[in-house]
Structures are given as structure tokens and as C-alpha cells.
Amino acid sequence: MHPDEVRELRAEELFGPLNDVEERHAPARLFVRGDAQLARGTSRVAIVGSRDASEDGLKRAARLARILAEKQIVVVSGLAQGIDTAAHTSVLQHGGRTIAVIGTPLDQSYPNQNRALQERIGREHLLISQFPIGAPVERKNFILRNRTMALAAHASVVVEARDGGGSLSQAWEALRLGRPLFLMKSLVERTDLKWPAELIQHGANVLEEPDQLLAALPDPQAWSLRDVPF
């Protein structure tokens, strides 16, 4: 990656003007590589979940990503192992567009085996990090990254997640922002997890069909209305 490819932007420069609820956890600056237009005026859905996902979970993530790609909806994920990788990879296979919001500076990769995927997304799609080049990679970065991912997407889908997993911080942030949050039905049916019921009580929806998600997506032009008809 050439340093000239990295641009530093404020969150509102990348995503458009933010209200105060959105500003609350928005990073002061973002480092981006690739097509920044993907982060504005497009419909964007985050697909997130466990690094150590099941085969079924990986298939569900890939299938949902394909459906979204076919609908010209930008898929946002975190380039982690497991669900994130399945989502990004499926989008690329089906000619869609994707944004990776990563927990490392742009010149580093985690996990290392996703370096080539990260390189391709940075070159052909959009790569976002809130951590400047040279910043240390810490565990808390990935929680902060998940909040930013919630901000970047109009809706979030949790495919699979463990108790205390990073995807939950994204889920709570999506609810705080007032954005639709969906939990895969298979996740809600698990009896060993307590947090799905808690998230549902606070506004999460159970995703059984992709049309539910499509119906809940706001028109992205709602953020660029200038001529007021009232």
C-alpha cells in the first residue's frame, strides 16, 4: 500500500452530516483507502459475527451478502476471520460492493491471512480505519471499530456470535443509533445464549427472510434532502 492512497477525513466528511447521537461515538478522524463514494448516498448493511463461526453460519453470511450484492446494497463488515470474511468474499464473488472497517491501522492486517483480501478491498472498494498508521493494535480497538461499523451502516445483521463477542457491541450501538438491527433466526433459537432475548427486548428484529431487511432499509437519499417542501 502506497501512503498516498490513504486519506484522512472527519466522520461527517465521509458519511455526511451527523446528528448529535451519531456524533457521540463517531471517531474524530478516519483513515480511508479506496472509493469513498461507497460511504455516501448508498444503501449499506453490515454483516457481522463470530470469528470461529459454524459452517452453517458461514453459509448464511455468504448467502445474505450475495442477496445484498445483487440488490446493489453495499455490504459493510470488519475483515475478521469467520463471518466477516465470508461476507466480504461472497460480495466480491458476486460483483457487489463492500466496505471493510478494520481494527488495525490501514497498513496492518488482522488476521494476517486476510492481507490479500484487505489489499483488494482497499484497491477496488473501500477500507476504513480510525487508527493512524503506526498506532498500536490493542484489543479495545476492535470494540471501537464495531461502533464505527454500526455508524457506517444503515442496518446491521448479526449472523452468529458468542457471549461477550465483539459483534454485540455493534448490535448495541446500532440500537442506540436507532438503526434496524437483525439477529438471524438460528441465533435466536439457541437456548444457550441469553443476549438475543435481551437485544430483542431493546428493539432487535429476528431475520427469517432477506425481504424483512430490505423493507426496513431507509432510502439513502433521506440524508441528502436539501429542498424542503413544507
Partner: protein
């Protein structure tokens, strides 16, 4: 549960269906409202924009005099149990209205303690009935009963939330005049949709409580007996849901 009708006002309208540019534009403004997006020129939060426009342009409309200097504005909770610092659009509308000089003060006395299904994501038959809303609210007691309360919501479709909120407050404040207000009301039929700006004052009426709460469509009728200077809107039961889709087995994610 003695209430079977509720006077309410709305400033704007949107059409949940229809492919005309006007219909689509109305839904964009609805989405801007539900996210409190920064819109207009100069840009400001949608809730502030609405309050400023209402302040500047209500004279001579059905809504003139709807809010008075004694009106206590009570924001209606969302459909789920809130978390701290969460976007609560009705509260932001209420605060923006008072800041713009509309109403006396904001009183957040209604709480949602149990989730109900979101009306906007549900088919008509699946939408929460007023009784479900009623059981999911709690009311904080104030020191004095207000003379008048206007319940404020962002969007109203059939009025079940507003009606339930009014009934909950009736029980605590039986002598208080309670009405509802939503920034946007849904006009279901595209052919009946005329303009985004369409101030109205009307009433939601349940034919009877028993029918209301067991009504499979759950539709509140707006009857043609509004205050003298108001325009009247009509709502017809919809034949199908907005969110209903052609979900075949092959589309399932599971």
C-alpha cells in the same frame, strides 16, 4: 379503558406505497424524520427543521391554536425498551417544538417497559393493538396534573400507540385534556395522497372498545367531525401490508 376516541393533529403526510416521485419523496422525508437526519439548507436536524417550519407557518392552518402556552408535551416512547443515550425521535421533536416556542414544556412521563412489535415492520393483522401498547407503558407521577397534554410521536398510521398512551394518562390524570400529535401521518392510498405538507386536525375513533381491541385489521377510523376549522383525513383499511413480500422458501436464510 373508557376512551374510544382521540383528537390528534399532524403537520406532514407520507404515502407508504406508490411509485410517483411525490410518493417516493414523502417516504424520504419520513426516513429523514425517523433518523433525525441533517437536512435542508442550511442543514439542521429534521426535528429542528420541522419545529421551525411549524412555528413559522401554522397560522391559518388546521393546526393553529392546537398547541397553547399551557400545553405540556409528552413524547411517546418507541416500540422497544430504550437504552441510555438512544435516539428517541419523539423526545427530540418535543424539545424542538418547545425551543421554537410551541407548547409550554416537555414531560417524559411515559416509559416503555416491555417491547411491542414495530407497526412499521408488521402486516396490518400483526400490528400491536392498543391493549398491547397499554400493558407495555408505565407512567411516572407528577406533582400536579397538567391542564392539557399533547402526546407527540414522529409518525402515525392507525393511532394505536397514541390511543394507548392517552388511555394510560387518562387513568392518572382524568381531568386533563389529552390530545395527540404526529409530525407525519400515513396516507395509505397513493391516489389520495396530495402533498407532503398537509396540516390536519382530526380524531381517531374506535367503533367500540371491544371491536377496537379485537379488530383483525386494527384500523382506527378518522371520522368527519373535527373541530370547525380543521381539514379531515380519511384512512381506509389496507388490503395488504407494506412489509409483506413474496417470501418463497428459496429466499429463506435458514
Amino acid at each position: 379503558m373508557s376512551r374510544s376516541e382521540l383528537a390528534y393533529g399532524a403537520f406532514l403526510a407520507y404515502c407508504p406505497r406508490g411509485d410517483d416521485e411525490l410518493h417516493k419523496a414523502s417516504r424520504r422525508w419520513r426516513d429523514a424524520l425517523k433518523n433525525d437526519a441533517i437536512v435542508g439548507n442550511p442543514p439542521k436536524a429534521m426535528t429542528r427543521l420541522v419545529a421551525d417550519r411549524m412555528c413559522a407557518s401554522l397560522a391559518g392552518t388546521a393546526l393553529e391554536g392546537f398547541f397553547t402556552s399551557r400545553t405540556v408535551i409528552v413524547p411517546v416512547p418507541g416500540s422497544s425498551v430504550p437504552q441510555p443515550n438512544q435516539l428517541w425521535v419523539p423526545k427530540r421533536i418535543a424539545e424542538a417544538l418547545v425551543e421554537a416556542g410551541i407548547g409550554a414544556n416537555v414531560w417524559c412521563c411515559l416509559n416503555r417497559v416491555k417491547r411491542v412489535r414495530k407497526s412499521s415492520n408488521s402486516a396490518p393483522a400483526d400490528r400491536p393493538r392498543a391493549l398491547e401498547h397499554l400493558e407495555s407503558f408505565t407512567v411516572e407521577l407528577g406533582l400536579h396534573a397538567p391542564d392539557e397534554i399533547v402526546l407527540v410521536d414522529d409518525v402515525v398510521t392507525r393511532g394505536a400507540t397514541l390511543m394507548a398512551a392517552a388511555m394510560k394518562l387518562d387513568a392518572r390524570y382524568p381531568k386533563t385534556r389529552i390530545r395527540g400529535f404526529a409530525v407525519m401521518r400515513a396516507v395509505s392510498e397513493p391516489a389520495e395522497f396530495v402533498a407532503i405538507r398537509s396540516p390536519v386536525v382530526a380524531r381517531f375513533v374506535w367503533p367500540s372498545q371491544a371491536i377496537a381491541f379485537d379488530d383483525p385489521e386494527g384500523i382506527a377510523r378518522i371520522v368527519a367531525s373535527p373541530p370547525a376549522n380543521s381539514s379531515v383525513a380519511s384512512v381506509k383499511p389496507r388490503a395488504r401490508s407494506l412489509a409483506r413480500t413474496d417470501s418463497g422458501e428459496s429466499r429463506s436464510l435458514e
